[in-house]
Symmetry: C2
Subunit: 335 residues, 2 copies
């Protein structure tokens, strides 16, 4: 299968993106990559890293969309940007199954929506990262910022889309779906969650376990957490910030601590490294943009080659799990 | 000064609450405590712990409001509950300066609003905990759940109230006020934050530093984070959950790790304990309910005697800083 990668999105583009593409074709037999971006530069990186095969194609694109660009106008006006060229290739070629970009989140979402297109029946596609839990599993948080002002009908579909993804991709028989709220009791929340609670309760095809609090995001007690994109993004970033800041604090305390503390920390080096790897969801792959016609994966701006390779594997898995077809069925069944 | 404490609110009531009251009068010379609740039981605890002084009074109240009670109807119907008796005492006695409760958050907020009353000019009082930052400071998050559906005018006042509190209580000259949002850029956010951004920018008396992301809550880069109560509560609980879960994960990894890991962890015991104490904002005191006529402090349901004592000190500090008077002035000046 073919996967297109925006070679000029992200802080380490194009070098790390191209290296990720090389790693992907080296390690995955059935994958071909299409890189979009400045052809000469990409060619010379491929050469520099000794890639002489024929499984990486390049689509020339001389513009770049940055985080400073307003997403909607950038998608409209920068027709020859690496992202828009990639999205068009995805849309127009049946043999390209998905797109990966580490570029501007707003541009990837806007482009996904307007170029690749909303799946029939889907009200609002949603950005849905999966977070690693302390029990070794994963929890999906949907939506994380694609829709900042939501109606309860959107949340209803987020629940369905998230449930199908976790079932399809992780083989969870009956994913536990929770509604992000400020308390676990049924009556808690604001106008939106009150409405959404009743709608989620009424969906036959999902295992709705009621309201969940943001403190459960890492605890492994829920598989899909449904939220409007504003609160979801806040929950994601608060979690991310707390983990990073706590690790930083441990480091500082050890540094300022006794010699015994320093020796102790040395003995725990492996443990800390392991935890850092486990909790860094950015390394584990990208966030799928669920509800568009093809697979669109947004990965973190700081993605390096290893993460790009994880993303390619993720697209392969999504494709092989027939997620898009299952999602279409699920949306129809609940229309 | 006199402070009233709801002796029947919280998981460890009445024992730990009464013990906290005894500690408070032992350690703080100028404080008298009024405990509300079942007089006989409180009397026998005081006796058991050898308190024979005259600086703890008891107001008899034989009912208890629980977390299962609907707040509004509980405040209306349980007139003889420890909370309502305490709130009435606070309202009616000039020499009582504040109330502390570890009971149902909803009941404390509803009771604070309807019994103690909204300060003139305040649109919506807000619950505003301060979180310990990794730089050793504190960041206030306002609102954390009192107002789940907000207008931008409310957020405008949250900014003013939070700024006055941090200036008054922590002596921060010009507190940095940020708007909780899903990105740091000016144009980010939903309908509410777009409106609130313009309003906050226009307030002369505050040092508005723009949008802040939830990942900055613990980093010490902002003094007051303004939010609607839903997103604020989500941010607070996500942060809390991430810290707790990460500490739990470290414990598990060490337990399942090598002997070397275990020895290392032993050497770091002091560091971990220190961090746990530093990051556990529940131990540091309570969350003030800002914008009501007197000092109302909600402390965590799991509060033990030590936390109750911290809360008493906090009420003393708020009172001595003339916060209520300064807040009235600030609200008038920005009306």
């Amino acid at each position: 299968m073919k996967i297109v990668i925006d070679a000029y999105g992200g802080d380490y583009a194009p070098l790390e993106i191209v290296k990720g593409a090389i790693t992907s074709v080296n390690l995955l037999d059935d994958v071909n990559i299409v890189l979009t971006g400045k052809k000469d530069e990409i060619t010379s990186i491929l050469k520099e890293y000794g890639y002489t095969g024929d499984r990486i194609d390049i689509l020339d694109a001389d513009e770049v969309i940055t985080n400073e660009d307003a997403p909607t106008s950038a998608i409209r006006t920068k027709k020859n940007s690496s992202l828009v060229v990639g999205l068009n290739a995805l849309k127009e070629n049946d043999d390209i199954v998905g797109l990966i970009s580490a570029g501007s989140t707003g541009a990837v979402l806007t482009g996904g929506l307007f170029v690749v297109g909303r799946m029939e029946g889907v009200l609002r596609p949603a950005l849905a990262p999966t977070l690693p839990t302390i029990t070794g599993g994963k929890t999906m948080l949907i939506d994380c910022g694609a829709n900042v002002d939501c109606k309860s009908e959107y949340l209803e579909q987020f629940a369905i889309m998230g449930s199908i993804y976790m079932k399809s991709m992780l083989g969870i028989e009956n994913p536990r779906v929770g509604l992000l709220n400020i308390g676990a009791e049924d009556k808690k929340g604001n106008a939106l969650t009150h409405e959404a609670f009743e709608k989620l309760k009424a969906i036959k095809d999902i295992n709705f376990i009621g309201n969940v609090e943001a403190r459960e995001l890492l605890s492994g007690t829920v598989d899909v957490v449904v939220s409007d994109g504003f609160a979801g993004n806040v929950a994601l970033k608060a979690t991310e910030g707390a983990v990073l800041n706590l690790m930083k604090l441990i480091k500082t305390e050890v540094k300022e601590g006794s010699l015994l503390n320093k020796i102790g920390a040395g003995m725990l080096k492996g443990v800390f490294k392991d935890i850092k790897n486990k909790m860094d969801y950015n390394k584990l792959g990208g966030s799928p943009f669920l509800g568009v016609n093809k697979i669109v994966l947004k990965t973190h701006g700081t993605s390096k080659a290893e993460t790009i390779y994880s993303c390619v594997k993720q697209v392969v898995d999504i494709h092989n799990s027939h997620f898009i077809e299952k999602l279409k069925e699920g949306i129809n069944a609940n229309a």
